[in-house]
Every structure is written in structure tokens, then in C-alpha cells.
């Protein structure tokens, strides 16, 4: 079976006055139908640019190149602007973080919901409206028909994000890219929105590319995880592998930073990662994480670290052997 979305060797570079910013470096992943891949990392790690690169929505100065960029057999590298516009909102839907800024305040909810379907399917307005009502009900919005006449400012944040999801589903996409879909929402609403997204994904067998900084969300929603740092994938694997047996020092460090009720002792020191993320401008040599890494050796600076595959579905980018990494993890737990 071929993957729904396949990305190999994706680079995004932005020319700045200070030099060439290598925002995404050699990122590869694939998303299958009905499966969820999470791209997780801290701000500035390139996760959002990766998504925008797939959608060909990069800012004008950013350049993208890739070995493979394939969606349902279509080579996205060669797709023209027009062809991409046919895909967006049709076959691939995107859900952004801020439902306040991604909905147009001047148009009604109904107008914005119908737009994608009128554009892509050339159906009569009545059909689009019925579909909009059907989907608003599907995402748990009451009095759906009357909501169509409302404007975004009349809805709460949770409702707006539900509208965004309904909008993404209008044309029955094969794939959803969700960029921090619940970051602006309350925890109670977050759980509801994620459950909704997960159940709709199952129902319609969509592929989901989930971009988030929240490891809690990743653990509960994703099937596969790519941990990104400084534009690179530093570790990838199935969700249980990543959380139960993290290999890369960055993944291990990140997991140690989070307080977990019932597991971390209140008042104890939380783990932390010293230092700050370097800006990948100009030539980066060696491991990007080395200056914050507790297991630094001279070899780390000497050469670029390749992604090491230890099985068909598991890889990490570190010079240490898997055994040493596992040992380090046990050391941290003490």
C-alpha cells in the first residue's frame, strides 16, 4: 500500500539579511489513511513550516526543495498553483491554531463553510448549505441552521474551532493537517475537540498530520511521532516507543520536563534542558543539540549526525548507541 502523503528529504530555506536560515532540514515522513502522525517540537523547530511546505503555502521568501513530495500519487513538487488550489480545502484540509484569525470576521459562518464546496464541487448553494448544516451538527454544534447566519465574533473559541473543523470536512478530504488545533482553547474544550477530531478521522478514514508542542496531546492522539529539533527530525517511532523508551537525549530531556500528577513528586525539581535552541543560520556542522546535551563528546561537533534506523519504524539522530541511550534514560530516572 502506498502512503497517502509521502515526504522525503524536505528542505525549507529562508534568505535573511543575516544569512540563509535553514528552517527545515532533510525531513522525511509519510502519513497513511486513517493514521495520525504527530510532528512535535518546541517553537522554532520547523514543524509549522513543514506543514506549510507540503501545502505550498510558504511565505514568499522561503524556498522549498524535496526528493519526494507525493500526495495520492500526485507529485506536489511539479503541481502548479492552480492544481494546488484544487487540492487545498478539497483533498487536503488545514486547521490552524487561532480560530479567531483564521475565520474572516466580515462573512457569516455559513458563507465561509459553503465557499470551499462551491469552489471545488460546483454544486448549487442549497447542496452546500445542507452539507454545512450536516457537518455543524456532526461537530456537536446545536441549532446548526441558525448558526449559518452568525458571524465569527458571535461564537466562543471552542465553537469557532468546531466551525473550523466542519469547514475542513466540507469536501470530504483524504487528509487533514492540524497545526496546534487546540492551543488557544481551555483544557476541557481541548479534550472535546481532540476526541471529535479523532472520531471523525476514524469515521472518514482520513490521514491526520498533527502539529503540536504538547507531548500530552501527542501521547493520547498520535500513532506515530516525529520529534523535531532545530529543523531536523531527531527521533521517530510509534507513539509507545517514543514515550516508553525515548532514545535521543532531547526527547528524554523533553519528557523529563513535564510534571505528571501521580508520577512526579510535587515540589521536586523538574528536569530541564539548559541553554537555548540555536538559530540554524549559515552552515551548521555537527549535532544541533550538542550545546544543550549532557552527553556531549568531541565527535558531536566533528560531523553531521545522520538519522540512524534501528528498525523499519524507528530511527534517531544521535551518535550514542541505543544501549547507551537506554542506560542514560535509566540514569535520568534516578
Amino acid at each position: 500500500m502506498t502512503a497517502l502523503l509521502e515526504v522525503r528529504g524536505l528542505h525549507v530555506e529562508i534568505a535573511l539579511a543575516a544569512g540563509l536560515l535553514k528552517a527545515v532540514r532533510d525531513v522525511s515522513f509519510s502519513v497513511d489513511r486513517g493514521r495520525t502522525l504527530a510532528l512535535v517540537g518546541e517553537s522554532g523547530c520547523g514543524k509549522s513550516l513543514t506543514a506549510l511546505a507540503v501545502m505550498d503555502l510558504l511565505p514568499p521568501r522561503a524556498q522549498r526543495r524535496a526528493e519526494t513530495l507525493r500526495f495520492e500519487g500526485l507529485d506536489l513538487r511539479k503541481a502548479r498553483t492552480r492544481r494546488m488550489a484544487d487540492l487545498r480545502g478539497n483533498k487536503i484540509a488545514m486547521i490552524f491554531q487561532e480560530p479567531m484569525t483564521s475565520l474572516n470576521p466580515c462573512y457569516t459562518i455559513g458563507n465561509q463553510l459553503e465557499e470551499a464546496m462551491l469552489r471545488h464541487r460546483k454544486v448549487p448553494r442549497k447542496v452546500a448549505r445542507d452539507r454545512a448544516v450536516f457537518l455543524l451538527e456532526k461537530v456537536g454544534i446545536t441549532a446548526a441552521a441558525s448558526r449559518l447566519r452568525q458571524y465569527p465574533h458571535q461564537l466562543s473559541g471552542g465553537l469557532r474551532q468546531r466551525v473550523m473543523i466542519a469547514m475542513g470536512l466540507m469536501c470530504g478530504p483524504a487528509m487533514i493537517i492540524a497545526d496546534e488545533p487546540t492551543t488557544a482553547l481551555d483544557v476541557t474544550i481541548q479534550a472535546q475537540i481532540l476526541s471529535l477530531l479523532a472520531s471523525l478521522q476514524k469515521e472518514f478514514q482520513m490521514g491526520l498530520l498533527l502539529i503540536t508542542h504538547d507531548l500530552g496531546i501527542v501521547a493520547r492522539v498520535a500513532d506515530r511521532v516525529n520529534v523535531m529539533y532545530c529543523g531536523q527530525v531527531v527521533e521517530s517511532g510509534e507513539v509507545t516507543q517514543i514515550f516508553d523508551n525515548p532514545l535521543h537525549p532531547y526527547t528524554q530531556g523533553l519528557l523529563g520536563c513535564i510534571p505528571i500528577p501521580g508520577k512526579t513528586r510535587p515540589g521536586d525539581y523538574l528536569g530541564s534542558i539548559p541553554g537555548v535552541v540555536p538559530t540554524p543560520i549559515g552552515d551548521m556542522k555537527g549535532c544541533a543539540f550538542r550545546n544543550r546535551c549532557t552527553f556531549l563528546s568531541s565527535a558531536c561537533a566533528a560531523e553531521d549526525v545522520a538519522l540512524r534506523e534501528i528498525s523499519s519504524d524507528r530511527a534517531y539522530r544521535c551518535l550514542l548507541s541505543p544501549e547507551t541511550c537506554a542506560q542514560n534514560l535509566r540514569g535520568r530516572a534516578k
Binding site: 466562543s156 504538547d214 510534571p259 500528577p261
Partner: protein
């Protein structure tokens, strides 16, 4: 028992909200009869959804807003009897967004020393030394003194905000979502710093956060707010082990810990957060409550105090 550091009684804040041209303005009770007390050296966690009034309480304690009713006592003395500067010496805030709370045109040194200048503490010559001291305490390297906020990372900015809050050695620090704008690896650094400072200076914190994992880690007591009222208040451990209010249970259930295989929780909460201008009759939580009965729809629940635990519910769990 001695007087608590901070005692809040029946605190109320009502905003008059415009309903449109030519319409009567209507009251919005952002804080509706809140009573709380905080002992010296404690960390009180204040949790709840956005719009529940937790930040309004912070503003009332800082007197950035004037209360409509009730009283706040600091060490037994009424807060309103203190002048602004006296108050600022004793209570200081650390806000959520270190990008917005620091003046972009002032250097770090100048931002941190501002309280000293305002309060005219000691000689101008001694200010420099004090700034150096506090910067070392919060883990900022001295050379950053001449930097501007835009040259700092998010974590560094929040350290500057903490340094500014602490330079007058206040007794109470109100942390309003201190780490929400920060990355996880930086969040843990700031939390560790706040815990160290509390130990070293005997500080009392009021920690406002929507992140319950953070609250569990930091707080000694937790107060859960819903629609302007405290619905449950107890020691952190007992709240997390045996939540009594259905809303507390829902909040706890919705914490997504990084534990794969546990799936997504079902909170059983309806989707609508009620309009605070038109609060539901009876128990304000009843439209979203999975356990609501007839009495909940009609009668507001009475506060119930048992074994140092406070809960406001007709059907509290055990």
C-alpha cells in the same frame, strides 16, 4: 492559629456591560462572593476555565481594579487602607506574557531597577548592586543588563519579570499563568526557579494556571473556580486524589498527561460555557453537570465545609 497572610472575604467584582446603544447596561458578576485565605509560605493554586474570574481576583488583590464588595485583609489589615506604593512593596505580580509585560524600549537593568526608583529605596549608587544581586538569583548573566527585551529568549524575559517582581522583596507574588507562553523545556526552568525562590525568601504565591499538572506540582492548596465562584477548595493532594465537585472531576479528567495508550478522556461536560451576564438559575454549573438533578436546577448550593475541605455542590462525591 495566627491570622493568615491574605484573607479574602465575600469578594465581589461587578462590571456593567453595555448591551448596545439605548439599552440598559447589565451587570456581569466576574467575581461573585469569593472567600479564600492564604497562609504564609503557602502556594495557592487558582484554576478554572477562561472567563471564570481567576485573573480578576488577581487584579483585585493587586488593586489594579477596585472591588465592588467584600474585603481583602493583608496580615489582618485592610488592603484598601494601604497606599498604592505600600501595596506594591508587599504584593507583586508576574504575568503570563513576558513579551507584553516588559517595556521594549527599556534595558533589562532599567526594567529591573524601576521599583527601586519608584520607591526611592536607598542611594542611586546602591541600585546597581541590588540589580546585580537579583539577576544572579534568578539566573540571568550580568552582561544581559544592557540588553533589550527583544534580544532575550522567552525564558530569559520571564526571568526578568521575576527579578523585577522580587527586587523589593515582596511577601506575596501573584503568578498569573507564569509559564503558559513558554516552551516545555523553559517552563520547567521557570517552575524550578519559582520553587527555589519561595524556599529561599519565604514567599507566598498565588498561582493562577489552567495547567493542572503545573498546579499539582507547585501548589499546597487548590481553589477551583467556576463562573465567578469558588466551587471547591482543599489541600492539593486531597483534591487530586478525591475530587468532590463534578466540575473538579471533569477538569482533572481533561488533563492530558504524556501517557500513551490512555486515549482521550470523556469529560461529560456540555460544550457551552454559560454567558456570565445571564448565569443559569440554581447551581450555575447544572447545565453542564452530568449529575444534575431537579434541585440543582432551582436552588443554589450552600457552601459546605468539612475537614478543611470546601465544596459547593448539592451532590458532592466523597
Amino acid at each position: 492559629m495566627s491570622d493568615p497572610m491574605l484573607r479574602i472575604r465575600d469578594l465581589t467584582k461587578t462590571y456593567m456591560v453595555s448591551m448596545g446603544l439605548l439599552k440598559v447596561r447589565r451587570p456581569l458578576r466576574a467575581v461573585n462572593g469569593v472567600s479564600l485565605s492564604v497562609e504564609k509560605g503557602q502556594v495557592l493554586g487558582l484554576v478554572g476555565e477562561s472567563g471564570c474570574g481567576k485573573s480578576t481576583i488577581a487584579k483585585l488583590i493587586l488593586r489594579l481594579e477596585e472591588m465592588t464588595g467584600g474585603s481583602i485583609l493583608l496580615d489582618g489589615k485592610d488592603l484598601s487602607a494601604l497606599t498604592r506604593t505600600e501595596l506594591a512593596r508587599r504584593i507583586q505580580p508576574v504575568f503570563q506574557d513576558p513579551y507584553a509585560s516588559l517595556n521594549p524600549r527599556k534595558s533589562v537593568g532599567s526594567i529591573i531597577s524601576l521599583p527601586l526608583r519608584v520607591h526611592k529605596v536607598g542611594e542611586a549608587a546602591s541600585w546597581k548592586k541590588k540589580v546585580d544581586e537579583i539577576m544572579e538569583i534568578v539566573g540571568l548573566v550580568p552582561r544581559l543588563k544592557h540588553s533589550f527585551p527583544n534580544q532575550l529568549s522567552g525564558g530569559q524575559r520571564q526571568r526578568v519579570a521575576v527579578a523585577r517582581a522580587l527586587i523589593m522583596r515582596p511577601e506575596i507574588v501573584i503568578c498569573d499563568e507564569p509559564t503558559s507562553a513558554l516552551d516545555v523545556s523553559v517552563q520547567s526552568q521557570i517552575l524550578n526557579l519559582l520553587m527555589d525562590l519561595r524556599r529561599d525568601f519565604g514567599l507566598t504565591y498565588i498561582l493562577i494556571s489552567h495547567n493542572l499538572a503545573v498546579v499539582e506540582h507547585m501548589a499546597s492548596r487548590v481553589a477551583v473556580m467556576y463562573l465567578g465562584r469558588i466551587v471547591e477548595e482543599a489541600e492539593t493532594r486531597s483534591i487530586f486524589e478525591r475530587p468532590r465537585h463534578p466540575y473538579t472531576r471533569a477538569l482533572l479528567a481533561s488533563v492530558l498527561t504524556p501517557e500513551p495508550g490512555r486515549g482521550l478522556p470523556e469529560t461529560h461536560l456540555g460544550i457551552v460555557y454559560p454567558n456570565p451576564i445571564d448565569p443559569p438559575p440554581g447551581c450555575t454549573f447544572h447545565p453542564r453537570c452530568p449529575e444534575a438533578t431537579e434541585v440543582c436546577r432551582q436552588v443554589p448550593p450552600e457552601p459546605l465545609l468539612e475537614n478543611g475541605r470546601f465544596v459547593e455542590c448539592h451532590h458532592p462525591g466523597n
